[in-house]
Symmetry: C2
Subunit: 620 residues, 2 copies
């Protein structure tokens, strides 16, 4: 991978920073966050401004450019990748290391007195704006909202904002009409004395209206805003997308059943002026809910006295708890996904000895096999298909210049998933096609012990996911090992593969407690730089369980794996497993064989079925 | 325990709330926090204002009185105790329960429009003031600083502020002169470009100057403030206390070695005006460090542009990492403490069958035995000596009206500790003198498994204590059980038995990472309301350890128990223990026998030695 050449771009950007066309006085620094106007994790090409300016295309990172310097902050997952993708004009700021300054501290340490720092208010979250502004002001500088995006100003051939076709989901996929979702939302608003709710997150809007799009790769969402009042619903979206009669019917645009369930549609861009109009007509006691991670631009439209910022919106919370229809859909999606992966592994075993399979061709094969399954829509994230040392790059994505050939001598890690109309998958398996080393097996087994410790954990209702994170690490820690990422994230149902408000990570504290019906990933790992990477990931459903006692009637929860793909026994040092852990592996494999085996049989996929049967033999 | 009768007091307080002698307009609510002006956990009798007004004498709680209502917020440890100590005039607000409103929400729900809420700015922390003020202002009310304390106004016979004799500690106890501590502090200040540091926490001031007092029961501290600049040191304390020539010599008051190490002494009360004078002379770039939990009154003296509030001061952080001398002292203190407890248990075994030992007399006996040990100063907190159902009251303290007799039929829990000049102890043992029930043994064993899981945990450098909390709960959770308190707290060295900035609790997130030399408690429990309480507590030292690998050269840590008192084998269901856990118990008991046995022998305490030998037989 060769770095992007950025000298000329930076020269142009710095010229724009001095150009008073954009502001009354030149700015001394310009912040380029990685996001779009909807706090999206994955973004459309037109929003990839940070990648455009510095070359680094990971999912998280912030670039800052001053007259003299250009620096980019990212976290442990991306240290290696960022250092390879950025040229010498850029300084990589490794977040989480003690010696790395925060963006604020760095700016303060290098800026001349009374500097102005610019940022596009649409792509910085309100809470980040607040913190940054406070720190800069405290040091005698100021943070300035630059309405015209300066990257766009120097970006020739910037792509258009996508406007893909919308898909309406029926009750058999969603389990709840959008009308009922609006009613539940309004009940929450009434309960908290809220008169308006501004929805800015794309997955929340998609979930609310039971609509899906394809505006952002891997995420079946569409660019939109929604504003819900007690009697009105406003949807802001490219209006051309609503010409389809079926969609108009789904949204009851032409014949609403009740006036308060009538959706008023507006162009996407008019959200700012419409919100201004709403806010101009607020009564003194009216309160407006908006996520505290919404854009600074939109948040500041709401007068402070009326603004009630919340870390997680009621839609985010409601969406996280899957209903029976969604759970059933997720289970079906995971069975289909397992079929594709069993086929993949059976195929790999045959092909690898020929020396013709590469990281890219294996990923392509996985996609091809998934695409044969019913209701397949696309991948849920770029496949991480990595051999040997590439496996140690946590968010690796194979590129022609890094592409390695799968062999009998190296560990292979594949982290992949798909969007099906009935659900979203995300699964990681780490396998060896020859004979793994004792150290590889040892590390794999510690990771497996961590995976099982989380998956089999029993914990009281009300427990936050971050409290389970250490369970995944205990076996690694005992041997002096660790991994520098969280253990799990929320997973959407035919929605974003990463979603809030719950997860399993030592990095967060403000996550919401786990509840029955929530779905998260369980994915501890171990990464030996320059050598191999190991990760074992299942998507798991939070379910109620009944242990021996029921302290203070709180009730207990545990997890049920939705992912049903065998975990390679060859990679295990079974002597390091306890009897309880061995039982867990055997029961898990029994279920894989039973459930996925039946589907393989039905689909007549004989090779894969043979592979499954062999890979699910009980261990002793 | 009968509740305090508060009707007349509340009438007087409400009269004061309407009395314009104290403020320009009457206030509609008055907040009575539990603290003193130094964010102390334990407070002097003159500062027990919340107890005075409502009767509840637990360590945590806030009372709020309005014209119509009187309510008191406390946490799970104190629900039972508070309900017993308060009369009908008071509503108990159980913090942590979903249905309990926050103080802010409650005030907003009951106050008439545009209300004024008063509070003494010296006993509310700056950060609490800020949050409360923001919430009230948002709802159209205001928070008002009432300079004269209204509780003091209605408190006849309020005790004087204590001014006990000060004790200077030499290098053999502290391992570091106060001059060196000042130098290290100034280096930290230089590093962070800080020009002044205001010390308000009593244990930090005691630690900094290597002085101890006895102003607050159980905490060897004295009322003082300190302000340290780059060239000056100001100590604010009742000046009579510094007449003693030995003390003057310790502080070099009359012949400072260097001008910048000369201590200027001022009366305790003059801290406000002195800080005002310092702040009036600040240069534009000068910054003043003050703990964000310091009093609102003192914090607001520092102009905002110069104020750098910090969650943990450099003294708090330095004090938490014990040096070799302090560690050695803590070890010695724990051996002496174990001698006293071995004697106690040997004595209890003989006396209990007679039916003459009560919770109070057992606690008194424990104190008597500790007081026979060298360098004993006093208890480090009120002894929790509890039989049967009293054990389920987490912070129980036996009173004549609740005093139960120890018997062969009930579980006995004793949580006690002492201050010795060389160290502070805190130990809990739960024992049965007859035959424990299967359920009692089962619960005890789960608690023991949790205790061992923390004590034997290996974790990387940089790990925060709260990440270990779930280890202590896993065995309980597996059976549907839990306990509603944190697992551990920092422990001072001949200082407060509870100290920051580290601990092991799911409730905190902003704790500082554990470091070698830190000392915390490890005390999981289980409480069966109305029946029994179980807790197993050791004080443990964070030590480096060398597991098999050393991921990214981070280094690993684990704990070494400083407490060396046998854990009752009779209470264990050893079948529920793993071999690793049994090994831990046997190794722990071997060390108790070896180390404490030698000291018992030296002191000629034969009965206790016999008891120790019997109680430390290996289990299989």
């Amino acid at each position: 991978m060769s770095p992007k050449i950025t000298g000329e771009l930076l020269r142009q950007l710095r010229q724009a920073m001095r150009n008073c066309k954009y502001f009354s006085e030149p700015i001394q620094a310009y912040i380029v966050p990685s996001g779009d106007a909807h706090q999206s994790e994955y973004i459309a090409p037109c929003d990839c401004r940070r990648e455009f300016i510095c070359g680094f295309n990971g999912s998280a990172g912030t670039a800052i450019v001053t007259e003299q310097h250009a620096a980019m902050w990212t976290d442990g997952r991306y240290f290696l990748q960022a250092s390879q993708q950025m040229d010498n004009n850029w300084t990589l700021m490794k977040m989480g290391l003690k010696e790395t300054p925060s963006q604020e501290d760095w700016l303060i340490s290098i800026l001349p007195e009374n500097s102005k720092v610019g940022v596009d208010p649409w792509i910085i979250a309100a809470d980040q704006w607040k913190n940054m502004s406070k720190a800069l002001t405290g040091a005698g500088h100021s943070l300035v909202a630059v309405q015209d995006n300066l990257i766009d100003a120097v970006w020739m051939e910037r792509p258009e904002r996508p406007s893909t076709q919308l898909r309406a989901l029926g009750l058999d996929y969603t389990g709840m009409t959008w009308q009922d979702k609006i009613t539940v939302l309004r009940a929450k608003m009434t309960e908290r004395k809220i008169t308006w709710f501004v929805a800015t997150a794309l997955d929340e809007i998609a979930w609310l209206f039971n609509l899906r799009g394809a505006d952002i790769e891997y995420n079946p969402v569409f660019f939109a805003y929604a504003i819900v009042g007690m009697n009105t619903i406003r949807l802001f979206v490219d209006l051309k997308r609503l010409y389809d009669p079926a969609l108009r019917n789904h949204l009851q645009l032409d014949s609403p059943s009740k006036p308060e369930l009538s959706i008023h549609t507006f162009p996407y861009e008019s959200v700012y002026t419409e919100l201004q109009a709403i806010c101009a007509a607020l009564s003194p006691k009216d309160k407006v809910w908006i996520c505290d991670k919404a854009s600074c631009a939109l948040t500041q439209v709401i007068p402070k006295a009326h603004r009630t910022p919340i870390p997680y919106t009621p839609l985010c919370l409601a969406k996280a708890v899957k209903n029976a229809t969604e759970i059933q859909g997720m289970k079906m999606a995971h069975i289909k996904d397992a079929v594709a992966l069993c086929e993949l592994f059976a195929w790999l075993e045959k092909e690898i000895p020929k020396g013709t399979v590469t990281e890219i061709s294996a990923a392509d094969k996985a996609e091809e096999l998934r695409s044969q399954q019913r209701d397949f829509v696309g991948l849920s994230f770029p496949t991480i298909s990595s051999v040997g040392p590439n496996g140690a790059i946590i968010h690796y994505r194979p590129l022609p210049e890094t592409n390695r050939t799968l062999s009998m001598n190296e560990v292979y890690l594949i982290d992949s998933g798909a969007q099906y109309v009935d659900g979203t998958t995300d699964v990681t398996r780490t396998v060896h096609f020859g004979t793994p080393s004792a150290f590889e097996k040892e590390c794999f087994t510690y990771v497996l012990k961590g995976h099982i410790a989380v998956s089999a954990a029993v914990f009281p209702n009300g427990t936050k996911g971050h409290l389970l994170d250490s369970f995944a690490r205990a076996a690694l820690w005992d041997s002096g090992l660790d991994y520098l990422h969280g253990t799990g994230h929320g997973v959407g149902c035919f929605l974003n593969v990463h979603e809030g408000p719950c997860g399993i990570s030592y990095k967060t504290f403000a996550d919401e407690p786990l509840e029955a019906g929530m779905i998260v990933s369980d994915e501890p790992g171990y990464y030996e730089d320059g050598s191999f990477g190991i990760r074992i990931e299942n998507v798991v459903l939070v379910i109620p369980t009944k242990p021996k006692y029921n302290y203070r009637n709180r009730g207990s929860l545990t997890f049920e794996p939705l992912t049903l793909v065998p975990i390679q026994v060859k990679m295990m040092n079974t002597e390091l497993l306890t009897q309880k852990e061995r039982d867990w592996v055997n029961e898990y494999h029994r279920k894989c064989r039973e459930v996925v085996g039946a589907e393989l049989e039905r689909q007549g996929r004989k090779d894969a079925l043979e592979w499954l049967i062999r890979e699910t033999q009980p261990i002793v």
